[in-house]
Amino acid sequence: MADERKERFFLDSLRRALGPPPQASRPMEDLFPRKPSAEDQRLLGAVSGRSEREREELLRRLRAAAAPLHLQIEAVVDLAAARATVLRLVAEKSPEWGGEKQLVAWSHKLIESLDLAEPLARQGIPLWMTAPIDPGLAPEAAAEERARQRARIAASFIGITTADFCLAETATVVLRSRPGEPRSVALLPSIHIALVRRGQILADLKELFALLRWDERYRGAGVSNCLSLISGPSKTADIEATMVHGAHGPREMFLLILPD
């Protein structure tokens, strides 16, 4: 095919530009190692052997990093406290684009265990739980279902997600895309609430990447098709360098941290 020829031509001209290939000395094991390095081992060890004191320290660093980013952190003692926090936010905040209050949340065990549906229903506030698209659906039906979910997410003023990890150093929430856990729940609503367990807090990007590269539990999916690192609400300083929160993504972001 024409594109394939083009590709060969492209890569050949690249190789010509690179000059005579020092093939023997290409550092393949360095470019794409098959075993974790000593540094990787150290990082993996740090994650798995973290003491309670060190976890406390991570939480402290997370709070310190979050404050200047306007990422609001609430360490809650249990599920009931988390529920109360969410309900408080629902009561306090109002929809940015007008209309009724609606919420959307990932269908995730942790979120389901908050039992939000019932108290919200009492106030007449709908809570939409997202769902994977059934692979058995015909393409048109699947497209319809997607459009329906999109409309609900866009109409919600609060979106609730969990996270795969959380990074203390940069106050970053790590979301890996999966069926039933749409990315736009953390993007289209004006307020994003993320729930994590204390044990999901890592020190930094280095630890995250070491896990993604070498830990069997995460390695298979690797980076997956989309990994989002979110560090606070959306912001811009494009008009006379004045900082404004809520450029395109959520204006406010809350991170609720539950005990393990």
């Binding site: 280095k206 990447f209 494009d238």
Partner: protein
């Protein structure tokens, strides 16, 4: 390729200098970011030496580009994405235009991407009836105003809030306000509609990783995440050099990118994207295309003098410290890339001869090298470009400089290697300068061409009555006598 106006450097720089609003904005930007970046490098846990580590990572990646790109492409394809290798800007643009035609795209939303500025994507898509909306707030402002970006990271730095207020009142039909939060809100509302309606999302690539097979985008606003999540097609453009081998290397470059670009530890949204949405996922694009663009980059790769430039990640840290950029602004550089990075890369991509004022119009102060997140020796490459312009260079299509300038330097070289002659000329000069008009303290008010540029705003020092060489001789005689 988008329009190249590098020949107008002198003219356009004059315009920038004469614009007090621009000057104020630029000095504010440089004050905030210029100093902040250096401080951010110092605060790195590894210390500022991490820039050298990053440089080595980038050099290794560049030296193995073929392997890295093959690996990246294989991974993305295995994940269901498409990869297209475009030798020229035209090929890249027409590939994207082809997708737009096939899918009947009416509206495309774009995240900030310098390479699409470089290849002139927007105008081609527009010509086939696609509405292309820039979604970075700064880019959106200048698109509404019908202008081009003047800074890689802060494209609308040259616009005041009053100008934005006028613009939004006219184009978005909102009540006139100069309040940045309200203006931002207006753009947020208008662009949200576009995101939700778009048929295609277009982004650049800050950095790709071969090992994992992903590209990545960084933004604070979330616009790129919108553009890469909501529309059914995502087309990402990357210069062929924007890649590293491993994820741990990616981490180092990412941290430096965020510090260099905006003195942040990390951008608000970093997306690592390896392909289209998976079965069962309800959002994310159903088609993902990566367009890898050469457009002259392999010529840099082939020239050992300029290969280093491919280490650049377009963080714009060099702009934020450059005294020349700080006075003339981005438009003077006449192409997508401005500041020190533009002064080197634009002539190499668009013609050294026509870009000669970009190569020569800097002071070589070296601030850019110290600020560069990838520790790139930009002054060295400016010197190489000047050498090419002076002596000519077939590979870059430059003829040797002729005429007056060359002769002046030849004569100079003769003089400085013949001290006797040199000394006589010095003495003659001390006498002849008597003919020139003087200001205070004997300083010269006006010099004849070709030196008249100096005295445009400055006096010129008079030659000392006796140069040091004769004073020394006198001194020795006296000491000898005494």
């Amino acid at each position: 390729m988008s329009a190249v106006r590098t020949e107008r450097y002198v003219e356009e720089s004059r315009r920038g200098i004469a614009d007090p609003v621009l000057r104020r904005a630029l000095s504010g930007l440089q004050e905030r970011f210029g100093r902040g970046t250096a401080e951010a490098y110092r605060r790195l846990p590894e210390g500022p030496g991490l820039r050298q580590t990053a440089h080595a990572i980038r050099e290794k990646a560049i030296a193995n580009l073929d392997l890295l790109l093959e690996r990246l492409a294989a991974r993305i394809r295995a994940n269901g994405g498409e990869v297209f290798f475009a030798a020229t800007g035209e090929e890249a643009v027409s590939y994207c235009a082809g997708i737009a035609r096939r899918r009947g795209v009416k509206l495309a939303v774009k995240g900030k991407s310098m390479v699409t500025e470089e290849i002139g994507l927007n105008s081609v898509l527009a010509a086939q009836g696609v509405e292309v909306v820039e979604t970075d707030l700064g880019e959106y402002i200048i698109q509404l105003a019908g202008e081009s970006p003047s800074h890689i990271i802060a494209p609308a730095i040259h616009k005041t809030r009053n100008e934005v207020a006028d613009l939004f009142a006219r184009k978005l039909g909102i009540p006139y306000t100069t309040d940045p939060p309200r203006l931002t809100q207006a753009a947020r509302r208008a662009l949200r509609e576009k995101f939700l309606a778009a048929d295609m999302g277009i982004s650049g690539v800050n950095l790709a990783c071969a090992e994992t097979g992903h590209i990545s985008t960084v933004s604070n606003e979330g616009n790129i995440r919108m553009a890469t999540t909501l529309p059914p097609v995502h087309v990402a453009f990357m210069g062929l050099e924007r890649i590293v081998a491993r994820l741990d290397e990616y981490e180092i470059i990412l941290r430096l990118l965020c510090r260099g670009a905006s003195v942040q530890d990390i951008g608000t949204y970093v997306s690592l994207i390896g392909g289209p949405r998976r079965p069962g996922e309800s959002d994310g694009p159903e088609e993902f295309h990566l367009v890898v663009v050469d457009n002259g980059r392999s010529r840099l790769l082939a020239d050992p003098r300029f290969r280093e430039m491919l280490c650049c990640i377009r963080c714009a840290a060099c702009l934020n410290v450059c005294p020349v950029y700080g006075r003339i602004g981005g438009h003077a550089y006449g192409f997508a890339y401005s500041g020190p990075v533009g002064a080197v890369v634009t002539p190499l991509l668009t013609g050294v001869q026509r870009g000669r004022d970009l190569c020569r119009g800097e002071t070589l102060c070296g601030a850019c090298k110290d600020a560069c997140s990838m520790d790139i020796d930009l002054p060295r490459m400016l010197l190489e470009l000047r050498a090419i312009l002076a002596a000519g260079d077939a590979t870059w299509g430059v003829k040797p400089e002729g005429g007056l300038e060359r002769n002046v330097w030849r004569i100079w070289a003769g003089l400085v290697s013949h001290p006797g002659l040199y000394e006589r000329l010095l003495r003659a000069g001390a006498v002849l300068q008597g003919l020139l008009p003087r200001g205070v303290a004997g300083w010269i008010r006006r010099l004849p061409p070709p030196l008249s540029g100096w005295t445009q705003s400055r006096d010129f020092p008079p030659l000392a009555k006796a140069p040091f060489r004769s004073r020394w001789a006198r001194r020795r005689r006296e000491v000898g006598r005494g």
